[in-house]
Amino acid sequence: MDSQKVDMFMMMNSKNFESQHLGIIREKLLNADESRWAAAQTVAIKDPTTALIISILIGQLGIDRFYIGDTGLGVAKLLTCGGLGIWAIVDWFLIMGATREKNMEAMQQVLI
């Protein structure tokens, strides 16, 4: 793929991935065929800051986990009063990392 496009993509999305994954993503994008560009751009990347805001406001209902696509954990959180209220607080600190991990998973599916 064209390195200018890849660098633009990396600049726009650097905060949406774990820093240790940025190198791998850049490399994979550079090696990918030009036809993958459209697919890479349409990956549903979730914003970690939005996830954090959702988590703080209504994380107790598991909405933050639903938002990042962790449906199973979302249901578990919802049906247990946010993990007895404790998990809801723990998730304030975990949700941004979890969002970035999910984004990486989504990218990997496009860039196999």
């Binding site: 107790q60 209902l61 639903f66 696509g69 962790d70 449906t71 199973g72 954990l73 249901v75 578990a76 919802l78 049906l79 247990t80 009063c81 946010g82 993990g83 007895l84 209220g85 404790i86 998990w87 809801a88």
Partner: protein, 135 residues
């Protein structure tokens, strides 16, 4: 979510759940109106799953009707708490991935738009009922 991470998480959740049940079972009188639910503590209104601790304890006593009245969600919680530890131990001994596969399959199924909407509507109805019966 990798297999081992999911199993650790579910194991901790099971332990915490059973500890909480035992705590409430033995110290109910002394706990009074104490609640771990932040929504109930802050607003006074119950959350969609408030009442499920008492519900699960009712089911354990065989009082199935009052569990429905306290919160129907307690049936899901009770079934999960019964099945999950057995399934976890089975997978740990056999080194199997069956629970992980079931989790991923179930999440994907529920993640579909129409299923998620139906689930959300059911939870909302239950929540409204939960609020109405306590006021």
């Amino acid at each position: 979510m990798t297999r081992n991470r999911l199993y650790t998480l579910l194991g901790i959740a099971c332990l915490a759940g059973y500890s909480w049940l035992l705590l409430v079972y033995f110290f109910r009188e002394r706990m009074g109106a104490f609640t771990l639910c932040p929504i109930k503590a802050l607003s006074g209104y119950p959350c969609p799953s408030c009442g499920s601790t008492r519900g699960v304890l009712s089911i354990a006593r065989g009082d199935f009707a009052s569990a429905i009245h306290l919160n129907p969600v307690s049936y899901i919680v009770a079934a999960t708490m019964l099945i999950l530890p057995i399934w976890l131990i089975h997978d740990a001994i056999r080194k199997s991935h069956s629970l992980h596969r079931a989790y991923i399959g179930g999440s994907a199924w529920l993640g579909k738009k129409q299923n998620l909407i139906i689930f959300a509507v059911l939870i909302l109805i239950n929540w409204i009922w939960n609020i109405l019966k306590q006021h």
